[in-house]
């Protein structure tokens, strides 16, 4: 982590909280009579999938700042196994545990 003034960090944290609360309160508190038009609703539907995928992919494919598309990348292999389990089971806990177990086994296997 880069050295940031603690007070600045608190400020950023509060701002993130305020933005999040603003989103949550927007219609409940301020605009309950308004109907969210379809052209706004439609893109919002894709936020979770797009955002979470953008977070997942580098965690699996990028090691130490560079692309690692090989079988030696244990996180990639364990991630693919977890994707398979998630697809088949649709179960959060099972996906989580099988992914972690796969990672541990692969790490143990490669001796790292």
């Amino acid at each position: 982590m880069k050295i940031i003034e603690i007070s600045t960090l608190w400020g950023a944290l509060l701002l993130i909280g305020l933005i999040t609360f603003f989103y949550r309160a927007l219609f409940i508190l301020f605009a309950d009579a308004l109907h969210l038009p379809g052209w706004v609703q439609q893109p919002l539907r894709f936020v979770p999938v797009a955002a979470l995928t953008a977070i997942i992919v580098p965690e699996l494919l990028v090691r130490e700042g560079t692309l690692a598309l090989t079988g030696q990348n244990e996180r990639l292999v364990a991630g693919i196994i977890a994707i398979g389990i998630a697809w088949w089971s649709k179960n959060t806990l099972l996906t989580l545990t099988s992914g972690m177990v796969a990672l541990y086994l692969l790490q143990w296997w490669s001796g790292s």
């Binding site: 982590m1 940031i4 993130i16 933005i19 999040t20 609703q41 894709f46 995928t53 692309l67 790490q107």
Partner: protein, 256 residues
């Protein structure tokens, strides 16, 4: 007549507690899933060097797991604060959809209720709350009737408050365990795993798959982008791709 209205009174007032506990029970499976997520967030936040108070305060101030993870991760990677704020602003914008969807049902509540329920509004609470409102279509949405008999907001309160308490406790345990857990345990890997468990079942049609593929591709292409702007760029690209695919499909279907 008198007895009848008394009956009505008991039924209505008794329903508050019943709704509340039904909400608590309804969200229980999702609460179980949130426990490891909260633990891991706590561990990650402390491992990257956030002060413990701040790591825990984020759970009360922001109260959104994916946003808290992303913030911690971007801080770890040395992203500027403005970029972090922008990224979370895009990531969390989905709550507007939940807010808009629940607002008509909460219209009759006073300001205090609205503020509190809005603060507690999460992916999980929304998912549970909206099914409660959908299953009970018998309850008329007439303004007067709503005022006198609709107690389903107690259900929403029960569900969201349970999730909140659980999140505070699990992140607190994570924050205190964080210092003791060695990096070799690779616990940070649980974050992408949790997200995989959310995303994969959500890939239901061409548009959502397209959104995921584009977001995943752009984030890799954008690795070279300065200031860690790649994440927010990829999110927006994915959202646009999904929207465009859906619109194109709609047009095609309309033209046939």
């Amino acid at each position: 007549m008198q007895a009848n209205s008394m009956d009505q009174f008991v039924r209505i007032c008794g329903r508050r507690r019943r709704e509340f506990w039904a909400g608590v029970i309804g969200i229980a499976p999702l609460v179980l899933g949130a426990i490891p997520f909260g633990l891991i967030y706590g561990v990650l936040a402390v491992t990257i060097g956030l002060p413990t108070t701040m790591a825990q305060a984020m759970s009360t101030i922001v109260f959104a797991g994916s946003a808290q993870f992303t913030t911690a991760q971007l801080l770890r990677d040395g992203a500027p604060l403005l970029v972090i704020i922008l990224t979370v602003a895009v990531l969390n914008v989905r709550h507007v959809l939940y807010s808009a969807s629940l607002a008509p049902y909460l219209r009759h509540l006073n300001r205090g209720w609205k503020v509190f329920l809005a603060y507690l509004l999460t992916d999980e609470a929304y998912a549970i709350a909206i099914t409660r409102y959908w299953e009970d279509k018998a309850n008329p949405c007439d303004r007067d009737t709503l005022r006198s008999t609709d107690r389903r907001h107690w259900f929403v309160l029960g569900a969201s408050l349970t999730l909140w308490v659980n999140w505070q406790i699990s992140t607190l345990i994570g924050v205190y365990l964080g210092a003791q857990i060695p990096a070799a345990w690779s616990l940070d890997f649980a974050m992408p795993l949790t997200f995989i468990a959310i995303v994969v079942p959500a890939l239901r049609d061409r548009a959502t798959v397209g959104a995921a593929v584009v977001a995943g591709t752009v984030v890799l292409l954008a690795l070279a982008l300065p200031l860690k702007l790649g994440l927010v760029t990829a999110m927006i690209a994915g959202i646009l791709a999904g929207t465009m695919i859906e619109q194109w499909q709609g047009k095609k279907r309309g033209g046939e």
